[in-house]
């Protein structure tokens, strides 16, 4: 009997010590982790607008405070729902990375579609960035796409998160693939046109880019979620264009 009590007692002490330790560390580090996550999104948004905030290896080359300041100074945002309507009193920087990429299991739509608006400090020219994400082959691929003020010309794409096979589908994170999007058009004669990712070597037009060799499934996934997301965003962009 004493033996058993000793065992239970020892187990209880071990559990208690471990859980207290974890709870302490977790609460001490939580703000830092949250900041890292938020700044990661901010970095990508600035990056897609062509602001030089990272070095060649993708490491942040300005301080986190400078990043916050830069983001606050140049970027405003709004959030759309799946119908392309603005959700009032919802700020882009309060959304977590999960919220902007999780899709509803039934409808396949996301609940939040953020739009980031970049204002150039010198020319006060506007650019827009949208968040695009969806299934690749193995994982959810997430990215940002920047558009010119005409809301049709793509100025840049950054796919910042994925778990595709390195060297195959993983090439979506490489500039080789992403640079192909630059200058392409979402619209043709004012209508949204289906965007294609073709087999490498096929003839390209203004609505298609070269795919990645040996990563057909990943490219197909990217193609389909890009088109789905374009539809939602375009509903909102139509209203903007009508107002212009």
């Amino acid at each position: 009997m004493r033996e058993q009590l000793k065992i239970v007692g020892f187990a209880a002490v071990v559990c208690l010590v471990c859980s207290i330790l974890l709870a302490l560390v977790s609460s001490a580090l939580a703000p830092r982790q949250a900041r890292n996550k938020a700044n990661d999104v901010k970095t990508k948004v600035l990056q897609v607008f062509g602001a030089e905030v990272t070095d060649a290896k993708g490491k942040l080359c300005i301080s986190q405070d400078a990043l916050d300041a830069l983001f606050a100074e140049r970027i405003t945002g709004l959030v759309l729902n799946a119908d392309g309507q603005i959700i009032a009193d919802c700020a882009v920087d309060t959304l977590t990375p999960q919220q902007i990429s999780d899709r509803d299991k039934v409808t396949g739509m996301k609940a939040f579609y953020p739009v980031y608006i970049y204002k150039d400090p010198e020319t006060s020219c506007k650019q827009y960035a949208i968040h695009v994400s969806g299934k690749g082959l193995w994982s959810t691929i997430k990215g940002f796409m920047a558009l010119k003020a005409d809301l049709s010309t793509i100025t840049g794409v950054v796919f910042y998160e994925h778990q595709e096979t390195p060297g195959l589908g993983g090439e979506v994170e490489k500039p080789d693939f992403q640079d192909g999007f630059k200058g392409k058009q979402l619209l043709e004669n004012g209508k949204l046109c289906e965007f294609r990712i073709t087999k490498p070597g096929a003839e390209l037009n203004t609505h298609s880019v070269d795919g990645i060799t040996a990563a057909t499934m990943t490219c197909r996934g990217v193609e389909s979620f890009l088109n789905e997301d374009f539809k939602v965003y375009n509903t909102y962009f139509e209203t903007l264009r009508a107002g212009q």
Partner: protein
């Protein structure tokens, strides 16, 4: 002194945890597509292994025999979660690359195996050395496999171009898990046939 040195050097080649004891193969398959992730995984595993061996060795006279494995698991799991939280707070980029594999350190048989086989019978300092040796042994194999896979698969090493894309087409097999199976299999064969031959004959 020679004995103490042997604790560290023995697991490097002759008694290597991956190629001789065939432990930790799961992660050796998963994180070896690139050298950079393999290096971080090696570091993380070695650190967790050292801490867990020392802690368990210090508790070894108190741990009731009947629940020793549960206690070991509890200690290891705590350390791994700590490591994961620290990575996420201080080196966010790397933690994103490793994602699920940090959690997988818990299931790495090397950690549990060394706690069970060594730390429970030996004092903390010797356990630390044993952990260091096994951690390094694991690292050697991991980095070797990752180097071969990255060079043959993508023509790069640690992100630097080794085989130019102009004349070398990456071998896709090397980037997929079966490629790691083939390489680890060859390594095990190589070691058992050539390096540890005398060892086997002694047995």
């Amino acid at each position: 002194m020679a004995k103490i040195r042997k604790i560290v050097t023995d697991p490097l080649v002759n008694n290597n945890p991956v190629t001789w004891q065939v432990l930790g193969v799961c992660s050796a398959l998963a994180v070896t597509t690139k050298v950079s992730t393999a290096v971080v995984m090696s570091l993380a595993l070695t650190i967790v292994l050292c801490c867990s061996n020392v802690v368990i060795s210090m508790l070894r006279n108190m741990i009731p025999n009947k629940i020793r494995m549960i206690v070991e698991l509890c200690v290891i799991a705590t350390l791994v979660i700590l490591a994961d939280m620290l990575l996420r707070a201080f080196v966010y980029d790397i933690s994103k690359q490793l994602s699920v594999f940090v959690g997988l350190i818990i299931t790495n048989c090397i950690v549990m195996g060394r706690a069970e086989a060594y730390a429970l019978q030996n004092p903390p300092f010797k356990s630390l050395l044993d952990a260091l040796g096994n951690g390094l042994g694991y690292s050697i194999v991991l980095i070797l496999v990752a180097s071969l896979r990255e060079i043959l698969g993508s023509g790069t090493w640690y992100g630097m171009t080794v085989l130019s894309e102009n004349w070398y087409t990456g071998n896709t097999l090397m980037l997929l898990p079966p490629g790691a199976f083939v390489i680890i299999g060859l390594l095990i064969w190589f070691q058992r046939t050539f390096i540890s031959k005398s060892l086997r004959e002694e047995e």
